[in-house]
């Protein structure tokens, strides 16, 4: 029904989609998977004619549609939804649907369009809001409207872009029912979805994109066994594990490393888990010390995982020597030193107790509790829309709490004004690296030192930041806009450090960055922690996160669903299944 051949699209120097070919059969549901930035939405945009193709062809029912404009493609029977709802805000809900019905379906009868619109609204559960102005709807209803709008076009091929994202459990069930009904009716669908359950249940076949390339296609089971897919989602170490069919023990990966790793140009990825395993053995981690100070079994268990490291102090040295000089730069090894250094207290630095919070009409966090101990790196893991950033906002008073408490150093943060948080030693590098583009690197950094204590120590802190990120010193007189993505991230972290935080929140550090750059950043993060700063690390890149943190919390649909030490999570079958699909 739909056939893509060698489709390529570059945006400037970035190859957003390169040489992608696949076909969708009539009545089939094809899932599209891929990490953030893999080019999934771009693919939809290309199919819908929002941008011209650089190369390749797209056929719909054997007619070429590349080169046609969007409205012509839409009128041929292709309906799409947007990840971020795109309603006609000034029109009523029912009118929103009538547009698609009349223009997509090419007829002029308002009463017919209205009747059909009502049928669809009944189906998606929006009938009660039919005469409301679309702009007044909450996010969940807007998501429903987005689907309804596409359905109103009576499409023969539906392109669904993340319609389940941000929905809570029971709403996902409703949505799944609707989609399954559509499937039974024989509607052909292309589905981009981060909620894997829906994608796997619904899809007949799945194609997987990574960095704009199609890396696998087949049934859900088939693609999840592809080493390349596992690698895209987890990093290389797990792919290796999958290939070998046994856990990657310290020595084996370390031994395999110098050749394979060097060839990849990012050796520390390979060495990561092995080194981390040794690190766990090397020192009583923050968590072990806190949760069970007397538990002597901890080193032994970790030791079994990494046979090489038996005696605690010798482990880092051994790992380093086994893996060669490269590994010295890997997060894991640095961690070994990190976890040994700061003194660990039993009283949590930050306590989140039963917090419920959200936005106007949308609850993003349900009864979330977590504890962060001084001197630790705590990870917060979860897919897009799981509520990670909302939790950060709830902690830093970006959104009001509807219930629960956040305590920092024993102080209830409800009694503290938002701008005073920095004085308490809380600092964050927000998602999206919001640096000031019109200011130089140096000015950006100096702006970070806004509290009195930080201002007095400004020169010294600046030196430390430059030691951490030498590239920033090199570029200190350049404008923020001229930095690369990775450098901007360094600047954002550097700026957060300028306020001399005791507690640093890093949101989506690695988002959209190249592996080599991520390595540098993680090295710096471990170093920052070693110097005594407690860190909350929010990550989508699970492997990366687990290799670095002491403990992690896993979020799903606004709830904490799992927590434990990095090792516990890595070995948790349920977790592996949910996130790695293996």
């Amino acid at each position: 029904m739909l056939r893509l051949e060698n489709v390529s699209k570059n945006f400037g120097a970035v190859a957003a989609i390169s040489n992608v070919s696949f076909a969708v059969q009539k009545g089939e549901v094809l899932g599209i998977m891929g990490p953030n930035g893999a080019g999934k939405t771009t693919l939809f945009n290309l199919i819908m004619g929002e941008f011209p193709l650089d190369r390749g062809t797209i056929h719909f029912e054997d007619k070429p549609i590349h080169g046609l404009s969007s409205h012509e493609i839409a009128a041929m029977g292709l309906g799409r939804t947007y990840q971020i709802p795109q309603p006609y805000r000034g029109m009523t809900v029912v009118e929103n649907l009538m547009v698609g019905d009349m223009f997509g379906g090419r007829h002029a009868s308002l009463s017919r369009a209205r009747r059909r619109a009502y049928e669809i609204l009944d189906r998606v559960g929006l009938a009660d809001s039919a005469e409301k102005i679309a702009g007044s709807l909450g996010l969940l209803d807007l998501k429903r409207l987005e689907l309804a709008k596409a359905l109103a076009m009576n499409p023969r091929l539906l392109l669904l872009d993340e319609i389940a994202g941000g929905l809570v459990e029971n709403e996902i069930v409703v949505l799944r029912d609707i989609l399954e009904d559509l499937k039974k009716e024989g509607v052909t669908m292309l589905v981009i979805e981060h909620v894997m359950g829906i994608l796997f249940d619904l899809s007949d076949r799945i194609v997987v994109l990574n960095f704009g390339q199609l890396i696998a296609q087949g049934t859900a089971k088939e693609v999840m066994e592809e080493p390349q897919v596992i690698e895209a989602y987890l990093g290389t170490a797990h792919a290796q594990e999958g290939r070998d069919g046994r856990p990657a023990t310290g020595p084996s990966v370390a031994a395999a490393m110098p050749a394979g790793g060097a060839a990849r140009g990012a050796p520390s990825i390979d060495a990561g888990p092995a080194a981390a395993a040794s690190a766990e053995a090397a020192a009583p981690t923050g968590f072990a010390a806190t949760a069970a100070p007397a538990e002597s079994a901890e080193p032994a268990v970790a030791g079994a995982f990494a046979p090489a490291g038996s005696a605690a102090p010798s482990a880092p040295a051994e790992t380093a020597s086994a893996a060669g000089a490269d590994t010295a730069a890997s997060p894991g090894t640095a961690r070994a030193a990190a976890s040994a250094a700061p003194a660990v207290s039993v009283q949590p630095l930050l306590e989140v107790v039963s917090v419920t919070a959200g936005y106007d009409k949308f609850i993003a966090l349900f009864d979330v509790s977590l504890e962060i101990y001084e001197g630790e790196i705590t990870g917060l893991i979860g897919v897009n829309g799981a509520g990670k950033t909302s939790l950060i906002r709830a902690i830093t008073k970006g959104i009001p709490l509807m219930g629960g408490t956040v305590r920092y150093k024993g102080i209830d943060l409800a009694t503290v004004e938002a701008h005073k948080l920095a004085e308490l030693g809380i600092s964050q590098s927000i998602e999206g690296r919001k640096i000031f583009p019109e200011l130089t690197v140096l000015e950006n950094l100096e702006l970070g030192a806004y509290n009195k204590r930080a201002r007095q120590r400004r020169k010294q802190t600046l030196r430390e930041v430059f030691d951490l990120f030498p590239i920033l010193e090199e570029k200190k007189n350049q404008l923020g806009t001229l930095l690369s993505g990775g450098q901007q991230q360094m600047l954002a972290i550097g700026r957060a450090l300028m306020s001399l935080p005791d507690f640093l929140i890093l949101d989506e550090v690695s988002l959209g960055l190249a592996p080599v750059v991520i390595d540098q950043l993680y090295k710096a993060i471990v170093e920052i922690n070693r110097r005594g700063t407690t860190i909350l690390l929010v990550e989508q890149s699970i492997q990366r996160c687990l290799d670095t943190v002491h403990r992690a919390y896993v979020m799903e649909h606004g709830r904490i669903v799992l927590s434990g030490t990095a090792e516990e999570l890595k070995n948790n079958e349920e977790f592996k299944k949910a996130y790695f699909g293996v």
């Binding site: 309603p87 000034g90 029109m91 009538m98 698609g100 223009f103 090419r106 002029a108 679309a134 076009m153």
Partner: protein, 334 residues
């Protein structure tokens, strides 16, 4: 199903509205008979302004195209009508039709480049277009340059006739808007206004749909220009191509209520009345207009008619919300 039927039933208040409109129309038609020439002039200008405001509202309020170049279409309509009457000795009505056609043709010619501009750039583009045309007309000797031209006095229509012609234009502009809003075209225009990208993906041909609105707007504006030329008897580029025509329409629509049908009518009346009340204090007039404009934008972003509607909705929704609540508790009881 019951719900569907309710939605398809004609608006109960429509008959009331229609009756009200008919009474209003009757009064306006009697003005030249019972009123003096002052009242006649006042309402003549009101009609022209209602037409201009509806035309501007079609672009700004329903399509999201903020045009500051309506004077170009007004001027082309006026000049073409006048020149056809002078040069070709055509009667007024034939000349008026040609004037409107010229205005639409001009809109068609400039549409391609001007639609490449979006948002504020479209606004600036249209403004530059009208200004360029004005300067051209000032310097073009053939059309009388800065002095302008006089329409043939011997065939001049009486003011009262022109009054009725203007009335028909105002009424027609309102009817055209009603028809458009109840058509596929109106649906497409509002979709474009609210979300162009989404509209495109719903199958709306953006260029063609915008063009239709642009041409209809040019038609109404051109007709208004032609009628005003006949009314004035003499036209010159400074006043005919003045940006004031656009600005008046803009103020009327914003004060009355953008994207509403009644807003421009209400706005034209308020603006017209204020102009007459303060006619001896031109400076204060402008200041007060400015203050009103700012106040409306600040406090009633939907205009005065929008505020009336919001108030109405508040009152009735309170009632229907109670009804729904009652129903729900009833359903729960079952």
């Amino acid at each position: 199903m019951a719900k569907n039927l309710r939605q398809l039933k004609p608006d109960k208040t429509a008959f009331g509205k229609l009756a009200g409109l008919l009474v209003l129309a009757a009064i306006l038609l009697l003005i030249p008979v019972v009123g003096d020439s002052y009242a006649e002039l006042f309402f003549y200008l009101l009609f022209i302004n209602v037409a201009l405001a509806q035309a501007w509202n079609l672009l700004a309020g329903y399509t999201g195209l903020i045009s500051l170049g309506q004077a170009a279409f007004f001027g082309i309509g006026a000049y073409t009508t006048a020149l056809v009457m002078i040069w070709l000795k055509w009667p007024f009505f034939a000349a008026l039709i040609l004037g409107a056609a010229a205005s639409v043709l001009f809109a068609l010619i400039v549409s391609k480049p001007i639609f490449r501009l979006r948002g504020i750039y479209f606004t600036i583009g249209t403004m530059v277009l009208a200004e360029a045309l004005r300067i051209w007309m000032i310097n073009w000797e053939k059309t009388g340059g800065a002095q302008g031209v006089n329409l043939p006095l011997e065939t001049a229509l009486p003011y009262t006739t022109i009054y009725y012609i203007a009335f028909v234009l105002a009424a027609a502009s309102i009817i055209i808007m009603v028809v458009i809003l109840r058509s596929k075209l109106g649906m497409g225009l509002r979709a474009i206004r609210d979300n162009e990208r989404s509209a495109r993906n719903s199958g709306v041909n953006i260029y063609r749909t915008k063009l239709k609105a642009f041409l209809i707007s040019a038609l109404i504006t051109g007709l208004a220009g032609g009628i005003h030329a006949e009314y004035s008897g003499t036209i010159e580029p400074y006043s005919i191509f003045s940006i004031n025509w656009t600005l008046t329409a803009l103020v009327i629509v914003i004060v009355g209520g953008m994207g509403t049908l009644t807003g421009p009518i209400l706005g034209a009346f308020i603006v017209g009345l204020l102009g007459e009340l303060l006619i001896h204090y031109p400076t204060i007039h402008l200041i007060i207009m400015g203050v009103i404009l700012i106040a409306v934008i600040r406090f009633f972003p939907g205009g005065l008619w929008g505020a009336v509607l919001a108030l109405y909705r508040l009152l009735t929704e309170g009632r229907s919300a109670r009804k729904i609540a009652g129903k729900q508790s009833g359903a729960e009881a079952k």
